[in-house]
C-alpha cells in the first residue's frame, strides 16, 4: 500500500504496558479498499453465465453477503494501516495488535482502535544509591575439624563388640513401629544397621539406645509427623521397638601424616598439610557460595528498586515456553500433558495460572537486566561472542561438534550474545553495588 497521507492516529498509554491507538482512515482509502476487495473477489467467485472476473461489479456485490465483503475489507485495510501506524510512531510491539473496528462502511471514513503491548519502559534504580552487603562466610577451625572428621570416618573400622551401646556405635537390629498397638509394616525393617549418632537417628531413638545390649529391646515413644504418607497414623503417638542383635564399635583413625597422605591420595604429605588443604577447599567453597548468593542479592535489590510494568503478553510467552518445556520433559518419560494434569488434579488453566507469578518475576528480572545493560552500555563485541561460544563448547561435548556451525549461525550467535551480555551485566552490577571486592581480606584471614 502506498503511503496514506491522511490516516490519523491518536495514541494513548494504557496500563499493563499497553498502548492504545485510535486510527481514522479517510473515506477515499476505505472506498479504495472496497474496490480492491471486490476486484479480487470477482476474480475468484464463479457466477453462472460469466467467466471468472468478467461479471459486472454490481452483480458480484449482489452475490456476496455484505458481511463477507466487510470481513475481506477489514483484512485488507486494517493490517497495513496498523503496521504503518506502528512503524511511523516507532512503536515496538511485542504482540499482535488487537484491533477493534468502531466504524467501517463504504463511503465513510473508518475508525478503529488497536491495542498492542509494547516493550515496557523500565525505570532502572539509581545504581549508585544501592548497596548490598557482601556476605562473608568465615571458615572456622571447627568447620575444618568437622570436615577432617568426616574424611576420616570413611576409613573408620567397624568391629563387633560385646558390650552396651554407646554413642558412636553401629547397632544391628530389627525395627518395628507400632501405632495404636498395630504394626506399621511400611516403617518396619529387619536386620538393619543404625548409626547411633546425632543428626542421623531420631532423637527419641538416640535417647533410648545407649545402655542396651544385644538381645534387649529399646523402646522409644514418639509422635508421628503430620505429613506422614499414611493418613491413618498422622499425628498419632507411636512406639518404636528396636530389637538389638549386635553392637559394633566404630573406630575413627587418628589423623596422622600417613593417613593424610592416604586421604589425599598422595597429594599431601603431612597432617598439617591436609588440614591446610581442607581449609583452602572450604574457603574456596564458601567463597563460591557467597558469590552466588551475593549475585542473587544484587539482582534482587536492583529489580526491587526498579519500576517495571510487566506486559501480560510477555508473561504469557514465558508461561508458554515453560509449558512446552514441560511437555517435552514429560514426553521423554512417555507421559502426556493432559494425563499429568489429571494426576495433579488441576486443569490446564489452573496450572498455567500457578506458573504465572514465577514467570512474571522472571520476566521482570530479564527486563531490568536488559535495561541495565543498555544504560551501562554493555554490548559484547563480535570477537567476544565468538570467544564465548568457544568457551561454552569446551565445556559441553555436545556443543563441541557443532562449533563451526554455531559461530556462523546468526540465530545461535544471537542466543550466545544474549547470554554473554547478561553475564556481563551481572558482573557489572555486582562490582558496582559491592564496591571493591574484599576477597583479599578473607584470604588473609585464612592464612
Amino acid at each position: 500500500m502506498t503511503t496514506p497521507p491522511d490516516v490519523s492516529v491518536v495514541t494513548e498509554t494504557l496500563p499493563g504496558s499497553q498502548l492504545g491507538l485510535t486510527i481514522e482512515v479517510p473515506q477515499v482509502q476505505v472506498d479504495g479498499a472496497y474496490e480492491r476487495v471486490l476486484q479480487r473477489l470477482s476474480q475468484r467467485i464463479k457466477i453462472g453465465g460469466f467467466r471468472p472476473g468478467k461479471a459486472p461489479r454490481a452483480l458480484v456485490e449482489a452475490r456476496l453477503s455484505p458481511s463477507a465483503i466487510r470481513e475481506e475489507v477489514i483484512d485488507t485495510l486494517v493490517p497495513p494501516v496498523v503496521n504503518q501506524a506502528l512503524r511511523e510512531r516507532d512503536i515496538d510491539a511485542i504482540d499482535r495488535p488487537q484491533v477493534e473496528i468502531q466504524e467501517l462502511e463504504r463511503g465513510r471514513p473508518a475508525r478503529f482502535t488497536a491495542r498492542v503491548s509494547v516493550w515496557p519502559s523500565v525505570t532502572l534504580a539509581d545504581l549508585d544509591s544501592l548497596k548490598v552487603e557482601k556476605p562473608a562466610t568465615e571458615v572456622t577451625d571447627e568447620m575444618v575439624e568437622q570436615r577432617l572428621l568426616e574424611l576420616r570416618e570413611r576409613l573408620a573400622q567397624v568391629e563387633p563388640v560385646e558390650r552396651e551401646i554407646a554413642m558412636g556405635d553401629v547397632v544391628v537390629g530389627d525395627v518395628r513401629l507400632l501405632v495404636d498397638d498395630q504394626e506399621v509394616p511400611s516403617e518396619s525393617r529387619t536386620a538393619i544397621e543404625l548409626e547411633v549418632k546425632e543428626d542421623v537417628l531420631l532423637p527419641e531413638l538416640l535417647a533410648a539406645l545407649p545402655g542396651r545390649k544385644a538381645g534387649e529391646v529399646a523402646v522409644a515413644e514418639l509422635t508421628m509427623p503430620e505429613d506422614h504418607e499414611d493418613e491413618n497414623v498422622r499425628g498419632k503417638p507411636g512406639r518404636l521397638e528396636v530389637t538389638v542383635q549386635g553392637v559394633k564399635q566404630k573406630t575413627v583413625p587418628e589423623l596422622t601424616d600417613e593417613l593424610a597422605e592416604q586421604l589425599s591420595e598422595g597429594e599431601q604429605k603431612t597432617a598439617d598439610d591436609l588440614r591446610q588443604a581442607v581449609r583452602r577447599d572450604l574457603i574456596e567453597q564458601s567463597r563460591r557460595i557467597d558469590e552466588l548468593s551475593y549475585e542473587q542479592a544484587v539482582v534482587r535489590t536492583v529489580v526491587e528498586a526498579s519500576g517495571v510494568e510487566i506486559p501480560d503478553s510477555l508473561v504469557d510467552r514465558e508461561v508458554d515456553r515453560e509449558m512446552e518445556d514441560m511437555e517435552r520433559r514429560l514426553g521423554r518419560q512417555g507421559l502426556r500433558l493432559p494425563r499429568y494434569f489429571e494426576y495433579l488434579n488441576k486443569t490446564e488453566d489452573e496450572y498455567r495460572a500457578s506458573l504465572r507469578p514465577d514467570a512474571a518475576s522472571r520476566v521482570k528480572v530479564d527486563l531490568v537486566l536488559e535495561e541495565a545493560g543498555r544504560q551501562l552500555a554493555i554490548e559484547p563485541t563480535e570477537d567476544e561472542v565468538t570467544e564465548y561460544i568457544r568457551e561454552q563448547a569446551d565445556k559441553d561435548a555436545e556443543l563441541k561438534g557443532q562449533l563451526e556451525q554455531l559461530s556462523g549461525n546468526e540465530a545461535a550467535r544471537g542466543y550466545f550474545r544474549h547470554r554473554l551480555t547478561r553475564l556481563k551485566v551481572l558482573e557489572a552490577l555486582v562490582s558496582r553495588l559491592g564496591g571493591d571486592r574484599d576477597d583479599k581480606a578473607v584470604e588473609a584471614k585464612a592464612e
Binding site: 453465465g49 460469466f50 468478467k54 461479471a55 459486472p56 454490481a58 452483480l59
Partner: protein
C-alpha cells in the same frame, strides 16, 4: 388470449453476452416459449409501467434445450427448449437487471 406479464416474461437473462448488450441499451429476457413479439412488447411495457418504457423492437430466438446424459447406461435426455427475447427500447431505461440497487 391475454396472459399476465409475469407469465410472458420469465426473467432477465444474466450472462456475459447479455451484459454487453445491456450496456448498449438492449435488454435480454427469458420469455415463454410460445410468446409472440407483440405480446412480449406489451407485457414489458406493462411490467415496467412505472419507468414509462416504450418498446422499440423485439428480437426473439428459440433456444433448443441441450442434450444431457442421464442415468448409468448413457441414456440421454434433454433440457427444456426456451425462448430468448432481446428488447430495444425507444423510450426509458431499465436498471437493476445485473445486481445493484
Amino acid at each position: 388470449m391475454s396472459r399476465s406479464p409475469m407469465q410472458v416474461i420469465l426473467g432477465p437473462l444474466v450472462t456475459e453476452r447479455s451484459y454487453s448488450l445491456y450496456q448498449q441499451g438492449r435488454y435480454t429476457f427469458r420469455v415463454a416459449k410460445d410468446a409472440t413479439k407483440p405480446e412480449i412488447a406489451r407485457a414489458l411495457e406493462e411490467q415496467y409501467e412505472a419507468q414509462g418504457v416504450k418498446v422499440g423492437a423485439v428480437n426473439t430466438i428459440n433456444m433448443h434445450g441441450k442434450v444431457r446424459r442421464t442415468g448409468r447406461r448413457g441414456t440421454t435426455g434433454r433440457t427444456a427448449d426456451w425462448k430468448k427475447a432481446v428488447v430495444t427500447l425507444k423510450q426509458g431505461r431499465l436498471e437493476g437487471l445485473f445486481g445493484g440497487v
